[in-house]
Amino acid sequence: MIALLMRDLRLAVRAGGGFGLGLAFFLIVVVLVPFGVGPNSDLLAKIAPGILWVAALLAALLSLDRIFALDYEDGSLALLATSPLPMEGAALAKAVAHWLTTGLPLTLAAPALGALLNLPGPAYSFLLISLLIGTPALSVIGTFGAALTIGIRRGGLLLSLLVLPLYVPTLIFGAEVVRRGAEGLATATPLIMLAGITAGAIALLPFAAAVALRINLR
């Protein structure tokens, strides 16, 4: 499992792996928003939590189809299926690799982009915490979606149609944490709910993803 994780990380970081693409996308979406709504800093400060979360979610979505597609095409996924590592473990390793290459960099870059959107001072720590807790859920849910659609050529659009509704609860609670943090309200409840969703997704969705992979490899 560790070996698979390290292999995926190396593949992502080296040329053609698309590492950093998600980050650049995140940056561009956030930069585009002020062009769209105008440079009014009060307005930007108000919508910044939601914009940052939506942009992070879209950036995570962007790299989902890479999780299994290449391995499926060149047959290494079939090799994985015959290896002693259970499919559930492989799915979890893939999700962790996806999080380390997109979720974590997004989380670390978010405060800098928050400054661009004039995010209120107390909200920075909550932004960091909520993304740190919430992005693993995005990766695991996305891994499930990617596992469902590997057999479909040009499945990228379908993948987003399937995965985006699944992202709704995570987005609601994640953005709520930051919004409440920005206004100085209590953030414990949405934070706990967010952590609950992440924990539940990590515990259950690798099994669903493994089922989908086995069906697709039949």
């Binding site: 499945g155 379908l158 149609l161 989908a212 697709n216 039949r218």
Partner: protein
């Protein structure tokens, strides 16, 4: 004699063939009676005027929008556990009907909301969760449409339906987080002494019954069509081989 006998496509076809016209007839009759009674022979409600009459479309379609998804979930589980093809095809057949019901509920809700709340749409928890349900239906139907192998498609959509149900339920309670919203609570329930007054209640009940039967009739019809399509596919494959 058990319910699983109807999992045999042949048995299903021969049993539903004589029943289907009757289900359709009763469904259409009670929908028409419920709607006509509701639209033309009920008094106008205080504070609402005649806008209240859209309830006879809004409530039954909303009821069926949710129950269609539940039916798909049960059918998907039966397919995953017992591998009955009719069950998978029934789930596939229910999806477009569910989409139509959700759309009717959303649109009639918007038309009703405009005069009473003064807005077509608000991000109220109930409205939002229906919109999310609509998205789930779209994803489900799109996945069915994009996979060629029927068994793989049935398997994958069943898994999606199960995971989707959990997340749809999560979203339903997550949106409660914002506020209570404009939409009123449930006006009809079994355990409450006071429901909507009888003048409105009886035609509404008839209309709801009509929608349930209409859903049933459409799903049976579509399932029969799917079974026939499967047979055509099998015959064509056999013809190609020989």
């Amino acid at each position: 004699m058990s319910i699983w006998e109807y999992a045999n496509p042949k048995k299903f076809m021969t049993t539903t063939a004589p029943i289907l016209p009757w289900v359709f007839a009763v469904a259409i009759a009670s929908t028409v009676v419920g709607l006509v009674w509701g639209f033309f022979f009920t008094p106008e409600a205080e504070n609402f005027g005649s806008t209240v009459k859209i309830i006879y479309l809004h409530v039954p379609s909303a009821l069926m929008a949710i129950n269609a998804w539940l039916m798909m979930l049960v059918a998907s589980l039966i397919w995953l556990i017992r591998r009955h093809h009719v069950s998978a095809l029934a789930a596939k057949a229910a999806a477009p009907v569910g989409i139509a019901m959700t759309l009717i509920a959303l649109i009639t809700g918007a038309i009703w909301g405009q005069p009473t709340w003064g807005t077509w749409w608000v991000w109220d928890p109930r409205l939002t969760s229906f919109l999310i349900l609509f998205l789930f239906y779209l994803g489900y139907a799109a996945l069915w449409a994009s996979i060629e192998d029927p068994d793989t498609a049935a398997d994958l959509t069943s898994v999606l339906c199960m995971v989707g149900s959990v997340f749809a339920l999560l979203s339903r309670y997550a949106v409660n987080f914002w506020n209570q919203g404009l939409h009123q609570g449930a006006s009809l329930s079994m355990d409450k002494a006071e429901n909507v007054s009888n003048v409105y209640y009886i035609p509404l009940l008839i209309s709801m019954g009509g929608f349930v039967l209409l859903f049933l009739a459409l799903v049976i019809l579509r399932t029969r069509t799917e079974i026939r399509q499967r047979r055509i596919g099998a015959l064509q494959a056999r013809a190609r081989r020989s």
